[in-house]
């Protein structure tokens, strides 16, 4: 996945300035940076969710498999680029099963056996199957926070996207739930391209192969994760990863 010259605005206010970067496939890319630097905004540009904010605008191009996403239909883009949000957000009026099946139904999967298979597969991939298999008809919002977040991951995975975007997926979770999701990421990257926004620098080191550092709406530097954390090119990056600000 490749972004070229991406600018983004909320109303008149510009949130991203000329971001160009390439996201390697089949690996985990972390985006770090102080609060308000545009990490979420950039992530939301990647699946064209940004344009759903009233008054928001975006320019530049984002390529996936060589196709310019901006020229395609937003719906088919989002079906290929899934997203998990900061706060767990299982649909409150749906059961565990229905939450995961929601995307499959949109794709037109009707047969019960097929739905079942897709749901079970996604739940297993998200490492949630064993915990919920006995009560799939329970409301999704009845699970614990960590389980809810994995349910959201399963929901996103069920439609088998090529890219999975995660916006601080662990920031609302306790350490044990966080561990589970980090382990899951290691497993997921064999099949998916993952982009994760995180405030937790240790987490970025643990889970990511590549790290991008954003500051004030600009990309400061992007490189292999060890490089960013141990031998960054930019002074700004060094200050940030060593905890001197932010």
């Amino acid at each position: 996945m490749e972004a070229t010259g991406v600018n983004a605005w909320y109303g008149r206010r510009q949130a991203l300035y000329d971001i160009s970067l390439a996201i390697p496939e089949g690996s985990v890319t972390a985006i770090i940076g102080p609060s308000g630097c545009g990490k979420s905004t950039f992530l939301r540009c990647l699946n064209r969710l940004h344009e759903e904010t009233p008054g928001a605008r975006v320019s530049g191009s984002i390529l996936l498999d060589g196709e310019d996403l901006g020229k395609k239909d937003a719906v088919s883009v989002r079906f290929r680029v899934g997203m998990v949000f900061q706060r767990p957000s299982p649909f409150p009026n749906m059961s565990v099963f229905e939450n995961v099946a929601a995307g499959l139904r949109l794709l037109g999967v009707r047969h019960r056996a097929e739905l079942d298979q897709g749901v079970v597969e996604a739940l297993e991939l998200a490492g949630l199957w064993d915990e919920v298999k006995d009560d799939l008809d329970a409301p999704g919002t009845g699970l614990s926070g960590g389980q809810q977040q994995r349910l959201c991951i399963a929901r996103a995975l069920a439609v088998q996207p090529e890219v999975l975007l995660m916006d601080e997926p662990c920031s609302a979770l306790d350490p044990i739930a966080t561990n589970k999701i980090e382990a899951l990421l290691q497993h997921l990257k064999t099949r998916y391209t993952v982009v994760i926004v995180t405030h937790n620098l240790a987490q970025a080191v643990r889970v990511s192969d590549t790290t991008a550092f954003f500051y004030l709406g600009k990309l400061v530097e992007m490189d292999r994760t060890e490089k960013i954390f141990h031998a960054p090119r930019e002074k700004l990056t060094e200050n940030y990863v060593t905890g001197r600000f932010g």
Partner: protein, 630 residues
């Protein structure tokens, strides 16, 4: 003090019920349960039954609901999910505006626009379309019938349902919609999956509030339903609802006659129905509100345990990580995505089209009302003397005489006197009760008062009018029809609205303000009065304006309590003129000059209402109004 005012609301409700029961008692005991099923209203023989009125009330309200709900939902969906950002505020304002139009104005408009249209085009059209089969036989009602009443009710409850649905949809956290979009849902699919579902409790509450409004709607229905007391045979039958029958007959009956008591029993039935509906609606809204505050807008409902687990047991899930061949259906689905997308986009655009249509349907009556009133009332309102003269003697011009137009001076004067009187009682009482509930009433008593104030705003004003009349008959029967009685009736309309507005205004003051003031050492009541009321000021003003505009636009209660007069105000104990009763009494007068006056009065009333709502809007803007979510 504040606690007393809160208690006052309970007392008011108790008095309301008590006096109605007490005054209707002879009828209750005389007819027993049979009153509900009796089908005649026979004064000479003293036989009364509420059957036809109950049937007509329920039929017109339910059918109005059936028509209004889909349109209102379409409007709410358009305003929250589809309209571009810059259009949302103005369109919302326009839709809300149609909720502020007084029912006498709607009735007036319906009389001049809908009734003729029904009579000349729609009803004959329906008849020929259906070949005259039941329930569409050739109509002899001249357009004054159940169908017309239903349509007018539809127009009137639509903005209420749309407003509550819109708010409920806005209360659903955006993250759900975005989650759905991120799965590849179209905007409509995201709305269906992730907005309508979570908002459903609020939407149902809005529908119930609309139903309550339809059941109790009085004046507009009276003006178009034909007022014939028979069980309906077709949708073109003329009829009478509980409210319309009460308002039509009340002033002609002697208190203490059995007919009068039977009419009071009708009021009691209407009270019971509307309170029930409003209790359900408010209960749902409270639940919805407390759920959205906690972040998840609707309590998860336990799903039916289906055969799901059985089917699952039959499919043996692939071992994770084995990387086996993807199942065949995946490929089939992937191949079908493109063509399916075309269809889904088709649905999306159809929905957009339909919601725009809903919006047009919702706004069209407002436009038509304004145009109709401007056309009819224009000639009168441009004369300065219209505002200062007494109403004329009835007269029709002929080649030998011209008629004087006269004016609505006394009606304007009386309206403001009674409005002032009402505000004098309602504002302090509502404010105090609201302060009590918001600031001190975390106990169950406070909650009860808040809830009952909510429910009370849904009681039809005709019942409040009946109550105040009965109250005066009991304590001071000479003043039962007077400015005083009218003012008290308006105050009863305003009290719960002011209370609610106060509660909401105070609750919206951030706790930080309160805490920092307390931390500075202000005693509690000073914190409340100075700091909290200060920062809620503009919201309070808006609430009081809202209450005043409801009172200003009300006809039913004033008709029963203020009486009528063609002269200037003389004393609080005598009958007094007011705008809405004047319009109602004269819009179909056989004298041309009186009709013209009524048209002008209607236009003046409409202008006042629109003016108030504009001022209220500006007050909200100038205050620290919270941004509107989306």
């Amino acid at each position: 003090m504040a606690g007393l005012a809160a208690l006052g609301i309970l007392v008011l409700l108790a008095l309301l019920t008590g006096f109605l029961v007490e005054s209707a008692w002879p009828s209750l005991t005389h007819f027993g349960i049979g009153f509900l099923f009796g089908t005649v209203w026979d004064e000479p023989h003293n036989v009364f039954g509420a059957g036809p009125a109950i049937v007509d009330t329920i039929l017109t309200s339910l059918f109005a609901l059936l028509l209004a709900v889909p349109i209102a939902l379409g409007v709410a969906i358009f305003l929250t999910q589809i309209a571009p950002a810059w259009l949302r505020r103005p369109l919302t304002y326009v839709v809300d505006l149609s909720a502020a139009i007084p029912s006498v104005v709607y009735g007036f408009w319906a009389f001049f626009v809908i009734v003729p249209l029904m009579n000349s085009t729609i009803e004959p059209g329906l008849t020929s379309l259906t070949g005259g089969r039941w329930p569409f036989p050739p109509s002899g009602s001249l357009g004054y019938d159940l169908l017309t009443a239903t349509l007018v009710l539809t127009v009137m409850i639509l903005p209420t349902i749309a407003a509550i649905s819109r708010e409920s949809m806005l209360a659903v956290p955006r993250i759900y919609r975005e989650s759905a979009l991120s799965l590849g849902a179209t905007r409509w699919e995201a709305t269906r999956m992730a907005v309508l579902g979570p908002a459903r409790t609020g939407i149902v509450a809005g529908i119930m509030l609309g139903l309550g409004r339809a059941l109790g709607e009085t004046i507009a229905v009276t003006m178009v339903i034909g007022n014939v007391y028979i069980l309906p045979g077709t949708i073109f039958s003329p009829g009478a609802t509980l409210a319309s029958w009460i308002v039509n007959n009340f002033s002609e009956l002697t208190p203490a006659s059995l007919a009068y008591q039977a009419l009071l029993e009708m009021a009691l039935i209407l009270l019971a129905i509307t309170v029930l509906v409003n209790v359900v609606a408010r209960g749902l809204l409270w639940r919805f509100g407390s759920a959205t505050e906690g972040g998840s807008p609707d309590r998860p409902r336990r799903h039916r345990r289906s055969r799901r687990s059985l089917v699952l047991a039959a499919t043996s899930p692939a071992e994770p990580g084995t990387g086996g061949e993807p199942p065949a259906w995946r490929a089939r689905v992937a191949a079908g995505v493109r063509s399916r997308l075309v269809r889904r986009r088709g649905v999306q655009w159809t929905v957009v089209g339909l919601t725009v249509l809903c919006l047009v349907i919702a706004i069209a009556p407002l436009a038509s009302v304004i145009l109709t009133l401007a056309r009819l009332g224009g000639p009168a309102v441009v004369q300065p003397s219209f505002y200062t003269s007494l109403p004329p003697l009835g007269c029709n011009p002929n080649p030998f005489t011209t008629c004087s137009l006269g004016g609505i001076g006394p009606a304007i004067q009386g309206t403001f006197i009674m409005l002032g009187l009402g505000a004098l009682i309602a504002v302090p009482m509502g404010l105090l009760a609201g302060i009590y509930v918001a600031e001190y009433g975390r106990n169950s008593f406070g909650k009860l008062v808040g809830f009952l104030a909510d429910v009370m705003t849904g009681i039809p004003t005709i019942i409040l009018g009946v109550f105040v009349f009965v109250l005066f008959i009991y304590f001071d029967h000479n003043a039962a029809l007077s400015a005083l009685s009218g003012g008290v009736a308006l105050s009863v309309i305003m009290i719960p609205i002011v209370t609610r507005a106060t509660i909401e205004a105070l609750r919206s003051v951030p706790t930080g303000v309160r805490e920092s003031a307390t931390a500075l050492g202000f005693p509690r009541h000073r914190v409340t009065v100075r700091v909290v009321l200060g920062s809620a000021r503009s919201a309070l003003v808006t609430g009081i304006l809202l209450a005043a505009s409801r009172a200003l636009g009300d006809t039913a209660a004033l008709l029963l309590t203020a009486g009528g007069s063609s002269f200037w105000f003389s004393s609080l104990n005598t009958q007094t003129a007011a705008l809405t009763p004047f319009i109602f009494a004269n819009f179909a007068s056989s004298y041309q000059n009186l009709r013209t006056d009524a048209y002008g009065a209607a236009l003046v009333l409409l202008a006042m209402m629109l003016g108030i709502s504009l001022v209220a809007r500006l007050a909200v803007r100038s205050g620290a109004a919270a941004p509107e979510g989306e």
